[in-house]
Symmetry: C2
Subunit: 492 residues, 2 copies
Amino acid sequence: MASEFMAYLDKSKAIGNALALIHWDMSTGAPPGGIPARAKTFGILAEEQFTLAVSGKMQEFLQAPQEGLDELERVSMRESQKFYDSWKNIPPEDIGKYNELLGNSQSVWEKAKAESDFASFAPALEQIIQWQRRFATLRGVSGNPYDALLDDYESGMTTEKLDAFFSQLKKTIVPLVQEISEKGKKFDASFAKRPVPAETQKKISKLLMDRLGFDFKCGMIRESVHPFTTNFSKGDVRITTNYHENDFLSSFYSVLHETGHALYEQNIGDEVAETILGKGASMSIHESQSRFYENVIGRSREFWESVYGSVIALLGKEFSDVTAEDLYFASNQAKPSLIRIESDELTYSLHIMVRYEMEKEIIINGRPVAELPALWNEKMREYLGLTPPDDAHGILQDVHWSQGSFGYFPSYALGNAYAAQFLHFMKKDIPVFELVKKGDLKPITQWLTSKIHMHGALKTPEEIVVGATGEPLDASYFTNYLESKFRAICLQ
Amino acid sequence: MASEFMAYLDKSKAIGNALALIHWDMSTGAPPGGIPARAKTFGILAEEQFTLAVSGKMQEFLQAPQEGLDELERVSMRESQKFYDSWKNIPPEDIGKYNELLGNSQSVWEKAKAESDFASFAPALEQIIQWQRRFATLRGVSGNPYDALLDDYESGMTTEKLDAFFSQLKKTIVPLVQEISEKGKKFDASFAKRPVPAETQKKISKLLMDRLGFDFKCGMIRESVHPFTTNFSKGDVRITTNYHENDFLSSFYSVLHETGHALYEQNIGDEVAETILGKGASMSIHESQSRFYENVIGRSREFWESVYGSVIALLGKEFSDVTAEDLYFASNQAKPSLIRIESDELTYSLHIMVRYEMEKEIIINGRPVAELPALWNEKMREYLGLTPPDDAHGILQDVHWSQGSFGYFPSYALGNAYAAQFLHFMKKDIPVFELVKKGDLKPITQWLTSKIHMHGALKTPEEIVVGATGEPLDASYFTNYLESKFRAICLQ
């Protein structure tokens, strides 16, 4: 029975792989003429996968006597049960229709963003939100539909818990940003806008991925409008980036970020990797890894010292006046800005708060789509003191909503907090920044692999963080990290 | 019921699209580490698709009263019935295992070919052949297992019919090749081996695809070891080529060939395109289109006259001594050679006969795999008078067997014959080569679209050829075409 159940889940995994490949393909160059047919295929396969998860057959498996299961089978059963309980009231046809809509929406968003035209994305967004609210309401147990969505990305997460979490972050970040804006040191980072051809940036990507230990026999990098990571097995993990000629640091940090995700997937234990648990413990834990490599390592002075020579050699003589220290400061300008994925570590969480507030308005309060751009700009002024010049630099900047990912953004902020906590305890075991300075990241990745990566989703986020650090998540590691880092850089 | 049946077939189409995308992906750069997991996914999805086609549900559909069906539903029902009858005795698990094997085999073949090491491909080939013979025997009605395989690519085709067809071709081709080798004019085509960088060849590909009318909004070109065409809808049709720096004509004709396939798919009627009948009437009819554009048009004097200026401009000053006439002759050297896809129109069919003889030995007579390289070389000596220097230039040159495509090769020769017959009748309607000379291929493609492309698989090969030419297939159009073309080029 157990092996029959695992074979049944293999089917779901196979369809999931096909869906991921369609998504990869449509994001990395598929011709526009194929969108409607591809969206239809996407809808049909998503419906098939969903049907497997809520079928009578699944119910049989879940009700069968569960004795003699090994850990993999037991956790697979528990996760299947959780999904079944949460989604069993949703008709599979709805999932098919909804996913066909998503299959069409990403390119609608891409075009709307390119033309900074929110109105052309609004009808698709409107429909996605209607489905999201419908699903959330049908699934919701706490009475708060947003909680159902949060729970998809971080098991047990609620609006109440997040409100408290963000309020704690705010207490440190808001006055610190204020203080830095008033009396912080001013850097001239204009060199970072000097043109760097995509071909050069591609070589930098390769250099960074090699440095972090990305295995190119088991993965690759391509380009897409919005950077992302996907995988079809631990032997095939793919990341994308987006090269901006006048902002090479944008792709630089995207690549570090996505490679962080990729290392997680490449290092999942063999026995777990090709099952439905061959993925991150949660989105937040996944983000903790991407943001650990991007920020904790990638935005450290020691990292810049170690890659400086190779990067400057690639950037060429136009950058010969730039020092490692310049690059370190340019990567850590604590300054409110418009684009989340290009923002610094300190103000980053404010971007997430804007999105979190927006999503609560949308999902809980049903704010009409037409009002969203104005609301976005209002929140940006409130949290970051800036008004976007257009929707491309405002509400349209991120791909997530076009993919139906509501409730995902908080994972980024939680990921930052997890990352800081991991760093605190990792430093007790190994000399983290000495290693970074030497360019030897292996012991760091080994630490993360043994405590986090190898387990895949066999452990819950709480089990992971307690296993790795001996404590549950505590945001003060992150606020302390920010205080100490940014006071040193900007105020001393 | 009819609409329920069509929705059921949509599911099969969606899984088929996913399988085609996996195949595309693995042929165009997927990392090697992902092969085993991808092969497993491939096997599971293939089994799912097969199960749909032979399920109890399918049987119900087929047994339901079939009244009030439109043509699309009627033909879909007929094709489903045919597949069901032929395959119902094969256990779906076998299809899963077999396709997992195929998912692994293509890269085994790629490596074996690169290293010219037949022994490393032999175990995979051995297993594929065992499955093929097993399926053919379980399905075979005529007592000849190879007939079941031939029928997959050309409905109603048998070994008996093909023996007669090839014997007719031989009667013209063998003495003509002999006569040309004895007293044919000698051309110096060594210029065709001058180096042409891949970047230049890419521009030539684009030029040719534009010239033929390929719609880049609804398709694209990439590179793979073996050129092929695939599609996910008429809005997303993809071809590949393979650039050889010292043989630019190789990719030149691959691109014309694959674009011929692609035009067929891009021009299928909208109402048929996204159903299971949205494909060619048969592999032979499909090959008739690829070989029509590659050979009938692409190897004509008029085509070279019309593209000469643009191609020479791209080739650059190293080719400034080359005339359109030189290119025409270089593309029509009637001379036995080792590689099928690079061979001339006259000797091409001899390559197909070698493969046909090989497949009969393998499928009907069960010739052991270890004996195949020697048998291949023997047949090459018999038909073409040449001995391959190694297996990469011999038995390993083609991808087909690694994909389980036994019975496919004869489609190429049949395609040539169909193409010549279409040309004969097209010339009665429009001034074919005057148009080619002017570079105006639209009326030619319109003729082919209205008689062939638009119908997809709604008509049988016989209905297509009779509809287009008023007669069933007659190989003498092809033998006459070869006689008149190659006598003019080589013997006058």
